[in-house]
Every structure is written in C-alpha cells, then in structure tokens.
C-alpha cells in the first residue's frame, strides 16, 4: 500500500530524517500563505501516488506568493496517469550541490532486505546501474540479527563516497533501514537525497510502500497519518463495483468470494481459486471472449457468499451470461458453489439454465453438485474438459 509523498515524509519526520520546511495545501490562499511562512523560493508538487509528475507538469517552482497561488491553480487539475491530485505540497526550494539515491526493498531470491545506494540520485536508478555500475551499491542485510550502522556505512562507501559525506549519510541510511523493518514496508526510498551547498543533507522526495497484510500491525500510525481502512491504494482507485465485491466477501468468514476487478466485457466470471482465476481469465481472452470482471472464489465459501457474488456480477449492465469455472477443487465444494450460483441467478431474476453458459468445477462433492446442475438444466462438465476448453464453450455461447 503506497503512501503519498506527504505521508512518507510525515513518517520520516517522526524518525528525525532531515527535511526542509514544507506544508500541504488545499487552496490557492493556503499556497500563498505557505510561501510566506517558508519565506523564499518554493517548489509546489502535486500529491499523487503515480510517478511521472514532473513530466506531466505537476511540479513547479515559485519565486513569489502570487506565483505560488497561480501554480497551485494550474497544478491541481492536472491528471497524472489517470489520477487526480489529492493536494499540493509546498516546500522550500533548496540549493543542491549533489543528489543521492537510497532505497530498501525485499529481494525475493535472497529472501532478505536489499539496500540500494547511489551517489547519482535524481535520475532513473536502473539506468545508472547500467551506465555507471560503480556508482551503485547493493547490500543485503539480515532481518533477524540486530541492525548495525556499519551496513549503511559499507553501502555508502561501496558507491564510491568518502569523507564528510560518508559520515553524514551513514546515519540517514541507517535510519531508513530501521524504518523499513519497523513498519513492514515493501519499499522505503529517498530520491533524491540532496547534499546542499553548505554540506548538510535534506530529503527532497520520498516514497514508502507498506505491505497490505501488515496494515493491522500499524493501525495507530495509519490512523495518525489519516489513511482510511478502505483505501486500497492500488494502481487505480477501486470502482463502486469492486467495493461492492469487497462487501460481498465480508458477509461472513467462510472462504473467499471476492477480489473482484471490473472489466468492460459482457461475460461475467465466477472463477477461482488464485492460480485458477489467472488461468481462466487468460483462457477466456484467448478465445476472444470479453470478461466483465475478474474474481476469485476459494477456501469453500458459504452458499450466501457465492450467491451474493453471482447477483452482483449479474447486476452489472451489459453482462449477458456467466461462466462458472475453477481448477479441480479439493477444499471448496462443487455442490455448495452450484447452490450459490443458481440462487444468485434466481435472485437476479434470471434463469440459471439460460444465464450460466458453462459450469466447470470438478472435484470435491462433484456428484452432488452435478445432480443440482442437472435439476436446473445448467450445462456442466467434469475434469475431462480442460479449463481452456470450458472457457471456449462459454465464449461460444455469447457470440
């Protein structure tokens, strides 16, 4: 879960990382006032989660209060990669001598945190790593042994930095390592970290991602930062349909019938489980089908949940038919899902036999499930029909 820049910096400030004066503003008047309080040239930055603000013209410099107010007005409406600005951050413009890059993330191969440091900050780090590998260091560190500043020192030194800069950078990098582990982050990045002309350091831009699974461990912090529990902070904000899907899954604690993602097609999908859904969504598209949604059922959901999910999908305008498909199931029961989707069709005022294009869930309790499907005249198949072919049958019924 991604933090806005102002939230990342609020977290950094708690840990006394060096930050210049700045204020988050929501109006031109506030921008004007912020300029006065900061007292000098400022930078105004759109608060969006996506990258590419500079390119979109959503970062501007102001030399006067009037200019700050003007820039606020021009920055706020700019949509960056489909995302509207939440607010604008006004910060003092610094006299930068050099920019550094520091980031910590997880390395799934080493299964340890990895610290990436460079004395060539401000630009794309992947590019720096290719063109100037000697200026980029990568250092893995333990997640169970006590953290030690020498790791930070070695990382800074390995990128070719020495002298006063090394001694001033080490505690900053070390603090970021501590923050990374303390808050279950999946990314803690400062870029650029600037050395000013007077030799001091300041965090110019920062970026923090917290693992969604760990949100429960950091409720107090999230509350203090004003991050709501329903903010998913995915690549795009959830649609109403997706939020309704999340409510379906919260009906009870039995199994999963959710993770709904909206698409604009005409074939509704009740699919599962994790890997099976990915496989089936691909299969539908390979046959030229247009899915109305992605979703996942699994872990033996209740009849009510499967019913509510079915009803929700059928309520979406333009959904002509439904394909109910999973990999061979062992925990989820075929008969329970069959009951749920049939009830969902009926609740939506649709005939199950007409609406369900294909039911392909083989496995646990399939004989019982198939009895139910026969009774309602729903077309079904067992494991002898592949997931791919089942998807093909569903698509064929629509076009």
């Amino acid at each position: 879960m991604r933090f806005y820049e102002y939230e990342s910096k609020a977290l950094f400030r708690r840990h006394r990382l060096p930050l210049g004066p700045g204020q988050r503003v929501n109006s031109a008047a506030e921008a004007r006032q912020a300029f006065g309080e900061i007292g000098g040239p400022v930078v105004l930055k759109s608060q969006v989660l996506s990258g590419g603000r500079m390119k979109a013209g959503a970062v501007k410099f102001a030399e006067s209060a009037d200019e700050a107010a003007e820039h606020f007005q021009s920055i706020m409406p700019i949509v960056v990669q489909g995302e509207s600005a939440r607010s604008v951050l006004v910060e003092r413009k610094s006299a930068v001598a050099q920019e550094y890059f520091v980031a910590i993330t997880w390395d799934g191969r080493a299964k340890k945190p990895v610290l990436v440091f460079s004395d060539m900050g401000g630009i794309d780090i992947e590019e720096v790593a290719e063109t100037h590998p000697e200026h980029v260091s990568k250092t893995h560190f333990s997640s169970i042994l006590p953290l030690s500043p020498r790791i930070a020192k070695e990382a800074v030194g390995a990128a070719g930095v020495t002298g006063a800069a090394l001694n001033r950078l080490t505690p900053i990098v070390f603090e970021l390592m501590k923050i990374f582990l303390a808050y279950d982050l999946t990314l803690a990045e400062i870029n650029p970290l600037a050395r000013l002309e007077d030799g001091s350091f300041v965090v110019l831009d920062g970026h923090v991602d917290m693992e969604a699974e760990a949100r429960g461990n950091h409720k107090k912090l999230l509350e203090e930062l004003g991050i709501g529990e329903d903010e998913t902070r995915q690549a795009r904000p959830p649609t109403d349909f997706e939020l309704a899907g999340a409510r379906v899954n919260a009906v009870d604690h039995r199994g999963v019938a959710g993770n709904v993602v909206e698409f604009d097609g005409n074939l509704g999908l009740v699919i599962g489980a994790g890997g099976g859904s990915l496989t089936l969504f691909d299969a539908v598209r390979q046959h030229g089908g247009r899915p109305a949604n992605y979703c996942e059922i699994g872990g033996n959901p209740s009849v009510k949940k499967a019913e509510a999910l079915t009803q929700l999908i059928l309520s979406k305008p333009g959904v002509e038919k439904l394909a109910v498909m999973m990999n061979v199931v062992s925990n989820t029961r075929v008969d329970i899902v069959a009951r749920g989707v049939i009830k969902g069709c009926i609740a939506a005022g649709r005939d199950p036999a007409e609406t369900i294009a294909i039911f392909r869930i083989p496995g646990s309790w399939e004989d019982e499930g198939f009895k139910i499907l026969r009774k309602y005249g729903v077309e079904y198949c067992d494991r002898s029909v592949s997931m791919h072919d089942a998807a093909g049958r569903a698509v064929a019924k629509i076009s």
């Binding site: 209740s302 009849v303 009510k304 029961r333 008969d335 329970i336 009951r339 049939i342 009830k343 009926i346 019982e368 009895k371 139910i372 009774k375 309602y376």
Partner: protein, 73 residues
C-alpha cells in the same frame, strides 16, 4: 424464504425435547437449528448452507431428523 435445495424435517415429538434442541444447535456447523423455549426451530435462512454432514441425524433419535435434498425429487 425456505431452502431451495435443502429441507430439514424434525419429528414433532423430538422437536419438543429441550435437550435434543440444544444438541442440534450445537452440532450443526451452519446454524440451521435454533434451540428455542418451545424446542427446536429451524432457521430457514441457513437451510441451503447445509453441508450434508449428518451430524444432526446422528444427534437425534432414529428418524427424529430428516435432511431432504430438494434437488433429488
């Protein structure tokens, strides 16, 4: 709304027994039985959640509880 797939019939004599009512409420994993003051009541909302575990049939005297699969008739 009664169940679309499952119906549960409790023998009227058995239904009056408070002890059996409590037992049925306890064993059913999906909350179909409610032990009320008058004996066993059926929560129709949960009938279709029946997982066919037969625990209620085992908990009651012989033929005291019958689970009917409506999709078989």
């Amino acid at each position: 709304m009664p169940g679309l797939f499952i119906d549960v019939k409790v023998d009227p004599e058995v239904a009056k027994d408070a002890g059996i009512a409590a037992k049925l409420e306890e064993v059913c994993p999906v909350g179909i039985f409610v032990a009320a003051a008058s004996g066993v009541e059926i929560d129709e909302q949960n009938l279709d959640e029946c997982v066919l575990c037969d625990l209620c049939i085992e908990a009651a005297p012989k033929n005291g509880v019958r689970v009917i699969k409506l999709y078989e008739s």
